[in-house]
Amino acid sequence: MKPDLLAIILQTALLLLLAPLVSGCIKNWKARLQTRRGPRITQPYYDLAKFLRKDMVISEHASWVFSAAPYVVFVTSLLVGLMVPMVTSQAPLSLFGGVLAIIGLLALGRFFLALGGLDPASTFGGMGSSREMTIAAMAEPALMLAIFTVAITAGSTDLSRMAADMQSPGWKLLNPAHLLAFIALFIVLLAETGRVPVDNPATHLELTMIHEAMLLEYSGRYLALLEWGSAIKQLVLMAILANIFLPTGLAADWSLPSLGLGLVLFLVKILGLSLAVVVVETANAKLRLFRVPDLLSAAFVLATLSLLSMFLFQ
């Protein structure tokens, strides 16, 4: 059960390389669905390379916290990614933490990002931080309850074990408890990654922006780390959703055919989820800020129902 260095390196590489692609796909498909041409799907890679080469401008009011935030966000996203089974059924770092550590680490990244938003003394940043922390707080109970429902079935908070448990007696997505939990987690995913009914990732310098408002003062290398970090976070949350509720194809061993099959199926699942996100983003308008809690409490109610149905049917 010792964490395997090779597995850690491979999964880190997968996270780093795949995350911008997923963001690119979502942007491109969204444009097409809205009958625009949109940027090519590899555009995020070019963006990151460009940001990394640019000079940085740092606000005169900012302290060291502002500079620490990009590193914390980037590293916590990677750490979280290493705790989630992606291609192999055993996550490389599952010994170091399960869902509880994942939720904690994501919160750590958000904590520093929000501080980074407040630091340059800009009103936009403060507004973004305030809203981000509020929405995260509203999403947290739904997330925890939905995860609890799955964890209770598996008797474990370790995601690898949860995936293995879901795999054992065949198709379980139609289990009402898990279906409800899945929908609840999907809503949380939209909220946590700043997607349309909650936040609009395409806005810049608007009063409605949340995530972008915190990044407003960042430039150059720091901006690259933050953008990359949030792309990884998005990939990781999708991977949790895909591999917990649909663990088909996770490679049980390290042979090439099973790894290849695992990788292909993983890509299919992630791109499928991205498509769902694209459809939701296109079909809905952004909610007013004070309607977002309603959406998130709907997610909480779904998670509660999921728990109740498990109580009733087992």
């Binding site: 880190t12 000079d55 606000s59 770092l93 939720i103 904690g104 680490l105 958000r110 947290e140 370790d158």
Partner: protein, 686 residues
């Protein structure tokens, strides 16, 4: 002289007594008084810390706990003995560790009172409070316990009222005084019930009671539980008995606030643990349900009210209510598991509660010390007047940030570890029963998640508004770093936060004798995997976590940004420039986000609870769009105060006005009263 708890503990107590005496002796020479009284306190607390650690790490091999008789027996039933059993040693460790850091800090902090207030008196009462609190957690006799409990409460009252020239301080002091005595009254009644059943006041006798079947069947057991829950609950600050806490903690000097929030409220937790787990016997189910419910409500309401505060110390005081709630969630779950005959999970939940007890003491102490340093530098508690302090007080800012990360339960620090244990016990608890009650565990877990997410929001606000961005007032712009002693005091607690966060498996071994005493199980081995690197749930399939591993790997992953810099960014330059101001002529501090603004979304979402009220007054000359001045006022309603305490207060006043007729000042009437009472008593006796 060899160092054993037997020699160190008396030294610790002597240190406090000496510190108290020195403060009184030198009260005319403030420098000498400061140095001697807080110096003695520091040394005494150091001895106490070492004694408690040695006693806990000695393992369970030592059969009888250390007992000391402080004074000869003067009155029947009253023995002035203290005993250092594992439970006392654990809470003694909490008290002594904090006392050490706080006394060290006070050496610097008390300088701020030179020429204004009498530092000798401050030192004397401070040491008296340390002494009494240490004795409270070690007293071995109910009478002695109540005596030191009262001394503790009264010395704390004197310290709360230290700056009594401010009216706010006086009324907070009185509120604390009254609430504290309601609590003491309940505890007294509880002990009388126990006395009735045993015929003695010794804790050993009470403990023997827990095995007696006739006691387990008696109704007075339930009455005792409720009395103790209220009595100790007032001290711990559980909702709805919490109102004194956010009033009294902020107005005290910061070293005292840190002690009250970090330690004094823990004596309530100590009392509950001692009484419920050791004296009252196997709990019925409703005890656990009650404690878990109270804990959950306290946690959520505590953090919600904390979010509404822009007074830094009041904000921290409300967080104490939240954390007491989290501790009680662990205890409540533990009581439920005990009743369901699942000692292993009960032990896990108990450990979660105890771990959070020491964690909260450490990080809340740290945060209050940071707030004290800020207060020292800016002379205000109002966060709206602060800002930009990270550049002016870099060390304090860093320490406060560590405390903020720890209290928000973020990995890899200590708050995360204890909440992780709490989640694990709640999760495992779902599987052990079929009753509908098991739904309490996941719902409790979800509300705990809400609590910690709101706590994170609150500390983004507390740290961000206080330390980041531009200073919002002249004193904040002129702020200076705190003196060395104050930084050292905070440094001790930072080290404790990091140790408790990164090495939980080492610390869990210390808890072994304690769980042996309370639930007859030792589970630190079971919770440890991979040579102590990994912390596990009761079974390693239930989930594992390694804060040390996370921290190390996190540092290792910094290689990637470094590599990216090597590959792409070596030629890039960094410029310092103004923040984007939308084309205005520069940003002023008045344009920054405020603490009140930051928590506005939460105030709107929970408006049924807060009942926010706001008033905006605009003055303008020719058009409402060009205001010349604007006045904005916003309040939230403290539901418990307006709906429970104020009506109660009115009733009590009305009743006492009626009673005044009895006490008209006529001597003849009083003689009649005495005569009638005597007659009644005689009739009753015959």
């Amino acid at each position: 002289m060899d160092l054993t708890p037997t020699t160190l503990l008396p030294l610790a107590l002597a240190g406090y007594v000496l510190g108290c005496a020195m403060g009184l002796l030198f009260f005319r020479h403030e420098r000498l008084a400061n140095l001697c009284s807080f110096g003695c306190g520091t040394l005494g607390a150091l001895c106490g810390t070492v004694a408690c650690v040695m006693s806990l790490t000695a393992g369970t091999t030592t059969t009888a706990p250390l007992q000391l008789q402080l004074l000869p027996t003067l009155i029947p039933y009253v023995q002035f003995t203290i005993s250092l059993d594992p439970l006392s040693a654990f809470f003694g460790l909490v008290v002594s560790l904090l006392s050490f850091a706080l006394s060290l800090y006070s050496l610097g902090y008390a300088r701020g009172f030179y020429g204004r207030k009498n530092v000798g008196i401050l030192g004397a009462f401070f040491n008296l409070m340390l002494l009494a609190t240490t004795l409270v957690v070690m007293a071995d006799n109910a009478f002695f316990f109540l005596m030191v409990w009262e001394i503790m409460a009264l010395s704390a009252y004197c310290l709360v009222s230290f700056e009594h020239e401010k009216p706010e301080t006086r009324s907070a002091g009185v509120l604390y005084f009254v609430m504290s005595h309601i609590g003491t009254g309940c505890i007294m009644l509880g002990f009388l019930l126990l006395f009735q059943a045993t015929g003695g006041y010794d804790f050993a006798g009470f403990h023997a009671l827990s095995a007696k079947p006739e006691w387990l069947a008696s109704g007075s057991r339930n009455a005792a539980f409720l009395l103790f829950l209220i009595g100790f609950g007032v001290k711990a600050g559980i909702v709805p008995l919490h109102t004194w806490l956010p009033a009294a903690h902020p107005v005290a000097p910061s070293n005292v606030s840190a002690f009250m929030s970090g330690v004094l409220i823990k004596t309530g937790i100590y009392g509950m643990t001692r009484v419920i787990f050791s004296f009252l016997g196997t709990p019925p189910l409703w005890w656990g349900v009650t404690v878990l419910t109270i804990g959950t409500i306290s946690a959520v309401l505590g953090v919600l009210y904390a979010l509404m505060e822009h007074d830094l110390k009041r904000l921290l005081a409300y967080h104490s209510i939240e954390n007491i709630g989290i501790i009680l969630m662990g205890f409540g779950a533990s009581l439920m598991f005990l009743q369901m005959n699942h000692p292993l999970l009960a032990t896990l939940a108990l450990i979660a509660g105890l771990y959070h007890t020491i964690n909260h003491a450490v990080f809340k102490g740290l945060l209050f010390l940071g707030a004290g340093a800020v207060l020292h530098a800016t002379h205000t508690r109002d966060m709206e007047q602060m800002g930009g302090l990270a550049k002016r007080m870099p060390q304090t800012a860093f320490f406060f940030l560590i405390g903020a990360v720890a209290i928000s339960a973020l990995p890899p620090l200590n708050g995360f570890v204890s909440e992780w244990l709490t989640y694990q016990s709640l999760l495992q608890g779902f599987g052990i029963t079929d009753s509908l009650l098991r739904l309490m565990f996941p719902i409790g877990g979800a509300l705990l998640a809400l609590t910690s997410a709101l706590a994170a929001a609150c500390f983004v606000k507390a740290f961000g508004i206080t330390f980041l961005a531009q200073p919002r007032s002249e004193p904040a712009a002129q702020a200076h770093e705190a003196p060395l002693a104050m930084l050292l005091g905070q440094g001790v607690l930072v080290a404790a936060c990091v140790f408790l966060g990164l090495f939980p498996t080492l610390f869990l071994q210390v808890l072994d004798p304690l769980t042996q005493q309370l639930t007859s199980l030792q589970i630190s081995q079971q919770l440890t995997l991979a040579n102590g690197l990994v912390l596990s749930g009761v079974s390693h399939t239930g989930g594992t976590v390694s804060t040390l591993g996370i921290a190390m790997l996190g540092l290792g992953l910094l290689v990637i940004p470094f590599g990216l810099w090597l590959a792409f960014g070596q030629k890039t330059k960094t410029r310092i420039g103004p923040t984007w101001d939308c084309g205005l002529k520069g940003l002023t501090p008045r344009m920054e986000y405020t603490a009140t603004g930051f928590s506005k979304p939460i105030r709107m979402i929970f408006k049924t609870l807060f009942r926010p009220h706001r008033e905006v007054q605009r003055d303008y000359d020719f058009s409402p769009y060009f205001t010349t001045s604007i006045r904005f006022e916003a309040h939230v309603e403290e539901v418990f105060e307006t709906r429970i305490y104020r009506p109660l207060h009115r009733q009590v006043l009305r009743l006492s006005r009626r009673m005044r007729a009895l006490q008209a000042g006529s001597l003849q009437a009083y003689l009649i009263y005495i005569f009638i009472t005597l007659l009644l008593l005689l009739m009753f006796a015959l």
